[in-house]
Symmetry: C2
Subunit: 486 residues, 2 copies
């Protein structure tokens, strides 16, 4: 679906210069014209630093306005934004920066301190530092080429090793269009953003904002009180959340009833429990379950308005421009979920051989297991076999196992996700040690330098041996049964 | 913007099988699942007639459900629909059928009688006849290739000779997407269709219907009473009209007030008078002026909700994926309107040399004159210099002049459009005759076989000579001044 179109932000600022693009908790409002002017200026300042078409620029920042301005600025140059999770360790950041050929890192003031300790080999600039630079005079783009890369976001994908998902402008565009053909859009819509902007679920809200011409209400760090307040009093009509957020919101709700104009609580990230969905239904909260991943530029399957409450537990049907299929079905109809559509990435950055395995004929093999019922609704049975989704963050057991096996004296390691009331799942590590002096404490002290805190196992269990099948492959299902019996 | 997506009707029927696709005045309702099943069956019956991928199939029909079923059926085969204006004469139809390489003509029962008198060299089948055929078993398409041709609609274009505008699936898709990003869409929307389906303005409503998942309320032949009734009582939210229809509706309105839920009267075809727009404003009718042509797959510039009443007389701003420019500007800012975007045709069928003149670097030279104000709003000053738009139909003077000059004894002919309260404009012919026996009556009796009735000059004025410039080019402006003085 390749072609040329006007630059989104420029076009929106031309169509509706005064309309609000972003509304902050402070009460500050930024119009589309403001946003365009700030982004163009930032683009020209980045040009002074040598950023040009095709340059990979990292962004390591909490949810600030400057983050979004930087994203648009990069699009004005045709540079690529590499979005980094602020919770990653020095090792993880260094890996992603090198792997993605990032040549400049932009940070907020807080992350600058962390970045300084990371011994990065590339220059680091805070947003504020860039804003003091003399703008270049190279001009900015007025058109977008949909086939070009716009963002790169790392995910561990099906094989457990982090790789950069390339999102073209077209991927982001079609994600927004797929959503509008499902949820509709109205000039009075206002979308609440509280997911991290460096996740595709958060970022995509800002893409929709300029494409639809609707404001984003920003709650930079999730708090059930602030989100509750925004829904109750700030004319928010749509909010994107993950199950742990929904759960806290439902607890906070008490006897309040959201205004009628709040029409969609878009739930992504991982499956929600039946009891949580039931509670939301009883409280008349319009929850739309969805299914998506970094590779699909956010939701690709969503439960539409008419049936949201009838088909509880289902992720819904594929968005209009997308398709979903179950392949390699077992007798019970369960098989591997495959998806296709113009919002699906064409591949991982510099991973030619993996790309050949995962993508074929336009279809992406998700690694997730599910089935489709008679009426065409998708049900997810298991996310990517081993994937642990904890509070909206993806954790790959293989990555934690890899870290554990770097510790001398650990012979075998198996990581699984254990149910957790608050986070959905938390990682648990089962370890076979050769050296009796290895303790839980010594393991954790090594891991904290290697892994983001949400990836650190919440329990460590020492075992004599791990359950393996005849080809010595770890049987995680058996491991899970074992710890459930404990 | 080329690529693959699921077949629109199949996808919509999967997403919302029970939702109403078409609602008729009789009260009959057709769901998306019904529409899909009927269209697939019709496709298989067409296959029995030898219709296959790439076959050009003419449709000559009034506004019937079967017309729309035939369109979808052709898309299931990948065949191309050539839409013929039912008001054309035998000569005109024969020209378009031959020029477009049409190999089969589908008609309704009434048009079958006309078609019989046309001495066509291709087979003619009524919709009902096709419906009695044994369906083929070749299967139907489940995906759409956006770069492929879907429809051909003839227009005289800038040079006055009819040529077939090719609309790809992508053109229709992007037209629908451009509109939704301007007007928004809601599950409760219902779009009234009363424009001829063989015009792109009528056809496009049915494309939006399957893409958005909203019903079309069909008033097959315009009547101010029926359209008024539908807006007042049938929950119509949007209607597409041309100025002559709006005028009749405003007269019919009297003291009625349309329901609040009626949110858009989309006005296309030609410029409306200031007094008409003022009357609509006073009556709280939400008129959205727009600008478009067959080549742009309907509207490409539309006045958005927020400013519809402030910028009266303007056609608005280009739709989100589109661009508009004024080139060759005079001192007053007026110049030729150029448009670009994925809803713009890539060219006329078999007109390579004209295509090279009219299209360049993605831009279409419309031949229309206009200017853009400081805030970016487009104002049309003159449609394609000589174009006469009469009751929503385009009339090209050169075509009428050509017909007049076939009459022996007529030496010169010049046709211009004269203002008309009811139709906007009507054609007037100025003639220099060599043979004194030529009369108005004798001319009209010849023309009625050559030209559709709306193209027949409403007045014929005999003159001694026509005003011409030094290169002997007819000066229509002078001609117009002359007849205004009469």
């Amino acid at each position: 679906m390749d072609g040329v179109m006007p630059h989104w932000l420029t076009k929106r600022a031309y169509l509706e210069p005064e309309k609000i693009a972003m509304e902050l908790e402070s009460g500050e409002k930024i119009s589309f014209l403001d946003l365009k002017q700030k982004s163009e200026m930032f683009a020209k300042q980045l040009q002074t630093l040598g950023v040009k078409h095709g340059t990979h620029v990292g962004i390591l920042s909490a949810n600030h306005t400057s983050f979004i301005i930087a994203i648009h600025a990069l699009s004005y140059i045709g540079a690529v934004a590499v979005l980094l999770n602020v919770r990653l360790t020095r090792e993880e950041i260094n890996f992603q920066v090198n792997d993605s050929n990032t040549s400049l890192l932009l940070t907020d003031e807080v992350m600058e301190q962390s970045a300084k300790k990371m011994s990065l080999t590339i220059p680091v600039q805070t947003f504020s530092e860039v804003e003091t630079l003399k703008p270049g005079d190279l001009g900015v783009r007025d058109e977008i080429h949909t086939a070009e890369a716009f963002t790169i976001i790392y995910t561990s994908g099906t094989t457990g090793f982090p790789k950069g998902v390339i999102h073209t402008y077209g991927n982001h565009w079609w994600s927004a269009i797929g959503s509008v053909l499902n949820l509709g859009v109205d000039a009075s819509d206002k979308w609440l953003a509280t997911l991290p902007f460096y996740h595709v679920g958060g970022l995509s809200i800002f893409m929709r904002s300029v494409i639809y011409g609707i404001p984003v209400y920003v709650v930079p760090k999730f708090s059930e009180h602030m989100v509750h307040h925004a829904i109750m009093h700030k004319k928010v009509t749509i909010a994107s959340v993950v199950p742990v957020m929904l759960k806290r919101l439902m607890n906070r709700l008490e006897n309040d009833i959201y205004p009628q104009t709040f029409r969609c609580m878009l739930l992504g990230g991982s499956a929600a429990s039946f009891s949580l969905l039931k509670k939301a239904k009883e409280s008349q909260v319009p929850v739309f379950q969805s299914y998506g991943m970094t590779e699909t530029s956010s939701q690709i399957v969503t439960l539409s308005p008419g049936v949201a409450l009838e088909k509880i537990g289902s992720s819904g049907k594929s968005l209009f421009p997308a398709q979903v299929q179950i392949r390699h079905q077992e007798n019970d109809g369960i098989g591997e979920i495959h998806v296709k559509g113009p919002m699906v990435t064409y591949g991982y950055y510099n991973r030619d051989s993996e790309n050949k395995t995962v993508f074929s004929d336009g279809w992406l093999a998700t690694g997730d297991l599910g089935y489709i019922d008679r009426e065409g609704f998708l049900y997810i049975v298991d996310r990517r076999k081993d994937l642990i989704i904890s509070g909206g963050e993806n954790i790959y057991p293989s990555e934690i196992e890899g870290a554990l096996l770097t510790i001398p004296g650990i012979e075998e390691a198996g990581v699984i996700g254990k149910d957790d009331d608050e986070w959905g799942k938390v990682p648990v590590a089962c370890i076979v040690k050769m050296n009796p002096s290895i303790t839980k404490e010594s393991i954790l002290s090594v891991l904290k330098d290697l892994l983001a805190s949400y990836k650190i196992p919440k329990e460590i269990i020492f075992m004599d041996r791990l359950p393996r099948n005849s080809s010595q492959k770890l049987m995680r299902g058996e491991l899970l049964k074992h710890i459930k019996k404990m």
